[in-house]
Symmetry: C2
Subunit: 209 residues, 2 copies
C-alpha cells in the first residue's frame, strides 16, 4: 500500500507499529489514527508503558521467568515440588502450562530454541544454567516441554545429551492424537507416531492425572 500521508510523524509511528508481529501496514495505520483521536495522555501511557517495561523488566535468576523480584513467585513457592523441573522455550509457555494445573514442579525458561538458520546456538540459551541447576539443586526429573518442531527436537536432543552423565530422569511431553480431534483430520506423522507410541489402555476419564 503506497500512501502519501503528508506527515513523517505519522509515517514513522506506522513504520514502528508495523514491526510488531501480526501487524501489517494497514492495521498500523488504523492504530495510529486511533491514537491520534484519543487524549494525549493515552499516547503517553501507551508509549511509556512499553519503554518502562522493556527497560525495567527483570527475570528470575533461578528459572529465568519474568519476575519483578530476583526470585519469581513460582520458584519461591515452597509448596511446589522442587525436584521436578519443566523446561520451556519462553515465558508464555510457563503461563500455558500453568493454565493446565497439572505441573506442580518448577520451570526453567530457555529463552528460545536452538536454530542454526536463525543464528541461535546453545550458548544463546539458558542451557548451561539448566545443567548447573541439575548439578546443584537435587532435581530428580527434567520434563522437556518444547514444541514438536525441528528446532524443538534439536534442542531436546542437545539437552538430553548434556544431561546424560547426570543422575536425573529426562522425560518429554507425550506426542499423539489431540483430544477432541477426529482421527480423519490428524496428520500422518502424528498418527504414525501415536501408533508407534501406543500406550496401555486406561480409563483416562477417571484417571486423576
Amino acid at each position: 500500500m503506497e500512501l502519501n500521508l503528508n506527515s513523517p510523524l505519522l509515517e514513522n509511528a506506522i513504520a514502528e507499529l508495523a514491526k510488531l508481529p501480526g501487524i501489517g501496514h494497514k492495521t498500523a495505520l488504523r492504530l495510529a489514527l486511533h491514537i491520534l483521536r484519543q487524549e494525549k495522555s493515552m499516547a503517553h501511557d501507551l508509549g511509556n508503558s512499553i519503554i518502562t517495561m522493556r527497560d525495567n523488566i527483570k527475570y528470575c535468576t533461578r528459572c529465568h521467568n519474568i519476575s519483578d523480584k530476583d526470585i519469581c513467585p513460582i520458584c519461591g513457592d515452597h509448596k511446589r515440588d522442587s525436584t521436578t523441573v519443566c523446561v520451556v522455550e519462553n515465558v508464555k509457555d510457563v503461563l500455558t502450562i500453568e493454565s493446565t494445573h497439572v505441573h506442580h514442579g518448577l520451570y526453567h525458561v530457555l529463552g528460545g530454541l536452538i536454530s542454526p538458520l536463525d543464528g541461535i546456538s546453545p550458548s544463546d540459551l539458558e542451557i548451561e544454567s539448566l545443567i548447573e541447576r541439575v548439578e546443584k539443586e537435587g532435581i530428580e526429573e527434567i520434563i522437556l516441554a518444547l514444541s514438536p518442531t525441528m528446532e524443538g527436537d534439536t534442542t531436546n536432543f542437545y539437552i538430553f545429551r548434556k544431561l546424560s552423565h547426570l543422575p536425573v530422569k529426562v522425560t518429554m511431553l507425550a506426542r499423539g492424537l489431540s483430544i477432541g480431534n477426529e482421527l480423519e483430520y490428524t496428520d500422518e506423522l502424528t498418527l504414525g507416531r501415536s501408533i508407534q507410541n501406543r500406550m496401555p489402555f486406561t480409563n483416562s476419564f477417571n484417571k486423576n492425572n
Copy 2:
C-alpha cells in the same frame, strides 16, 4: 483470560496495548513478549514514535487533514480544482478517496460523524468551518462522501440543511450495487435503493469519468 504474570510492568504494558482497537488481551500479551525479546532501542523507538506523533501532529488549517505544515500538500496544490470539495469523516477516508484517482478537488475532514448516542454533536465536528469555507472560497460543489450509515446520513442531512441558503451544489456518493458483487448477495436495502435510483445505461467501461 486470568493469568498471573508476576510482573506489574508487563501487566501494565499489556493493559495499555489492549486498549487499541482490535487488540485483545491475548494479542497484547504476544506483542509485549515480542517487545521484551527485542533490543531496548526497538521499544524506545516504538514508544517514542507514538508519543511524538500524538504530541506534535498538526492538521491543515484549511481542510483539517493531517499535515506537518499549516496548509497540507493537497490544499497547497494549485493544479487541483479548488471549486469542488469532498467532505469526509476522517483522515483515512482522504487516503481511500485519493487512491481512486477520481477526485481532483480538495477535501474537508469533519473529524467524525454526528452521533447523539456517542455524545458527538455538530459542534464537535468541523462543520462550522466547512460553512465558512463555502462562504469565502468560491466553492461550487460539495461532495458528501460519508459512510452510508445512520450517523453518516444524519450528518449528511445536517450539512445539507446548513448549506441550503448558500449558492453551492451539494452532491453525495452514489449508492447501489458494489461492482463485482453478485446480485444474489446484495442486501435488500441496497438492492431496493439501486432500483429506485436506477440510472441511464452508459457503457461505463469506456467512460473516462
